[in-house]
């Protein structure tokens, strides 16, 4: 851990950043109020220097490079980025759910102080669905079409029972479905996924994720596949589930509206790297990376009058052949010569804030 990192608050840091030029401004004693109360508290989840490569026919794809992040108990951390920015891969690597073709390297992936990479298969399975619950993006495909909803929710319960008790698991499934707001759960447990609407299915998925009272919920685009009207309901439910279980949540999304609604802290990813981290208020008020700024400018807002929304020009980079220097430079309005050759390190730029831009100060 580098010197300027504030324990539990700073999300990401590049090893050796302290010695990099410009790091002098980094170390700010005394963190933001939200972070201050957590100083000294060991993080629930700590990912340090995570890189994930996929070996494909088109060469090696660096899906995630040197990502570090921490999640403390009870907080909601949003990972934001476009498709292919590595946010899902980052989350999947926590529970080692990536396909075998993925080459994962990291200094640490520690959950409650235990490095998950050292666990045996059966130890890992106790963590999956136990203290770490996962919610998937598409409830249409994440439920087995030929199993009843009840059987699938009960599956999450049975798998973590010390002694198999199917009757108790089934009752717990009914109770969980009631908890997540499925009407008439005693009857609906017997139904198949195709008899459930998208929103109801996502509720069932949430029920599975919280079945064993997790400490950490990983929600991978939990509302992306849903109608807008249903999204609000599911978000409210996520909030409720999080409040009731007290679980920390990693919320993966590309929707800044959801981030504003739910998150405490935001990690912005671009091209497999963390480009900015900040508390949610600061991020929306003063984004310190041009990519974040661009994302915000492309979002309609209630509180600011704009004539026209500004989309970010260009396309996300091809990850098999990312641009040299700063990966964002081809799309960046601030890009200068330096950006074409030097990749900006992720530096602390304030209390609990980091940015990977050579010119982050200009954005302040």
């Amino acid at each position: 851990m580098t010197a300027e990192q504030i324990p539990g608050a700073a999300a990401a840091s590049v090893p050796g950043a302290a010695s990099a030029p410009g790091a002098a401004a980094a170390s700010v004693p005394g963190a933001a109020p939200a972070a201050a109360q957590r100083v000294g508290e060991a993080p629930l989840l700590r990912i340090d220097g995570l890189s994930v490569d996929f070996h494909t026919d088109d060469g090696v794809v660096h899906a995630v490079t040197d990502v570090s992040l921490e999640v403390v108990a009870g907080e909601i951390v949003a990972i934001v980025g476009e498709s292919g920015s590595g946010k899902t891969v980052t989350a999947m690597s926590v529970l080692r759910l990536l396909p075998k073709a993925a080459e994962v390297s990291a200094d640490a992936i520690a959950f409650r102080g235990t490095d998950l990479r050292t666990l045996s298969g059966s130890e890992l399975r106790k963590v999956r669905g136990g203290p770490v619950g996962m919610i998937f993006q598409d409830p249409m495909t994440a439920l087995n079409p030929v199993m009843t909803i009840g059987a699938q929710v009960a599956e999450a319960v049975v798998l973590h029972q010390a002694r198999s008790d199917k009757k108790a698991a089934w009752q717990r499934a009914v109770e969980l479905l009631r908890l997540v707001g499925v009407p008439d759960p005693a009857e609906r447990v017997k139904q198949y996924p195709h008899e459930f609407s998208g929103g109801m299915r996502q509720r069932a998925m949430i029920a599975m994720a919280i079945a064993n009272d997790p400490d950490l919920i990983i929600a991978d685009e939990p509302t992306t596949a849903l109608d807008v009207t249903i999204q609000a309901q599911v978000l409210a439910l996520l909030k409720k589930a999080q409040a009731e279980t007290g679980a920390a949540t990693i919320l993966i999304t590309h929707d800044l509206g959801i981030v504003a609604e739910l998150a405490d802290r935001v990690v912005v990813m671009y091209a497999g790297r963390v480009v900015e981290t900040a508390g949610v208020g600061e991020l929306f008020a003063t984004p310190r990376h041009p990519y974040t700024k661009g994302l915000l400018a492309s979002l309609p807002r209630m509180d600011v009058d704009v004539d026209q929304l500004d989309p970010i020009p260009g396309n996300p980079p091809n990850m098999a052949d990312p641009p040299a220097g700063c990966a964002f430079h081809p799309r960046c309005p601030l890009a200068r010569d330096k950006c074409l050759t030097d990749r900006p390190p992720l530096l602390a730029i304030g209390a609990g804030r980091t940015s990977a831009c050579h010119f982050s100060e200009e954005l302040a």
Binding site: S122, R125, L143, V146, Q152, A156, L159, D184, E187
Partner: protein, 289 residues
């Protein structure tokens, strides 16, 4: 909410409806059920001991006392036919069961684990499929001595690759499904995935190959017993009853000796195959005829 009214369409219910559209298959189910019942109640139905020798009434044609006549030692043909049904069906079902169990276990392991395990299992399947099974079984029966058990195991061993390949294919396609990933994310291990997600999904196609395997095994049993390598006399099987038909005299003048076991084998194999066809359509929602 009254969503769970009688209108609930379960996957099994839909399959049953499709199966009923197959008249030949439905008739075959009834036929096989009758054959099974006849085999179970062989003794009361025939009223004779299948091995009771009665030289005085040997080689007599069908009559009131012996509905299907008697053979060269005066044994009641109907009684032997029904008792033979037990053996033939038993061998068919037992060896198909062996094939399905081996095939399902090896196929799902190969598909789930992949890598060298997959390679090993599939090469093993290739080896079994490329051997002329009849020749090998004849040799094995020659070495170990012919017995029902040897025959069941040998037939089962040579039929597992068909089932194994199907289960492997199902496993490979399921492995990439998100609900399998979701199940793993809730803590499911390989055994659990096999039991809860893969085998249930593989069951429909497996039930089809299992049925066809039963038909093949019955025919193979008849062949082996006919050749004297399967069920040994005095126990009766449809195959060794046909052995009597090796002489032209019998074929010409005593048709009751070979007609009934011949018809029994042919109809049973045909019916089981029809059921297999019906199942194939029933478990595949896309097939509409």
């Amino acid at each position: 909410m009254t969503v769970s009214a009688p209108a609930v369409r379960t996957p099994a219910g839909a399959a049953l409806r499709r199966f009923r559209k197959h008249p030949a298959a439905v008739v075959s189910v009834v036929f096989i059920a009758l054959v099974v019942l006849a085999a179970i109640f062989a003794r009361p139905l025939s009223g004779h001991d299948p091995n009771a020798i009665d030289l005085l009434s040997a080689r007599s044609g069908p009559s009131g006392g012996h509905l299907l006549g008697t053979d060269s030692t005066g044994r009641d043909v109907l009684s032997r036919l029904l008792f033979a049904g037990r053996i033939s069906l038993g061998v068919g079902i037992a060896s198909a069961a062996i094939a399905v169990v081996i095939g399902t276990v090896l196929g799902s392991i190969a598909g789930l684990l992949g890598g060298w395990v997959d390679g090993l299992v599939m090469r093993l399947a290739d080896v079994f499929m490329s051997f002329p099974s009849l020749v090998v079984i004849v040799v094995v029966a020659g070495i170990l001595g012919p017995s029902v058990l040897t025959m069941v195991i040998a037939i089962g061993l040579f039929q597992w690759p068909v089932c194994g390949r199907i289960v492997r294919g199902v496993t490979l396609s399921l492995r990439e499904q998100e609900f399998v990933l979701a199940s793993r994310a809730t803590g499911a291990g390989p055994l659990w995935l096999m039991r809860k997600h893969i085998i249930p999904a593989a069951l429909p196609p497996v039930s089809v190959v299992a049925t066809l395997a039963v038909a093949q095994a019955i025919a193979l049993e008849a062949t082996l017993s006919f050749l004297g390598l399967g069920v040994q006399p005095p126990a009766a099987s449809w195959g060794n009853m046909l052995t009597d038909a090796q002489s032209l005299t019998v074929i010409r003048s005593e048709p009751w000796l070979w007609l009934s076991p011949g018809i029994a084998v042919a109809l049973t194999v045909l019916a089981v195959n029809f059921i297999g066809d019906g199942l194939r359509d029933a478990v595949d929602p896309r097939s509409s005829s």
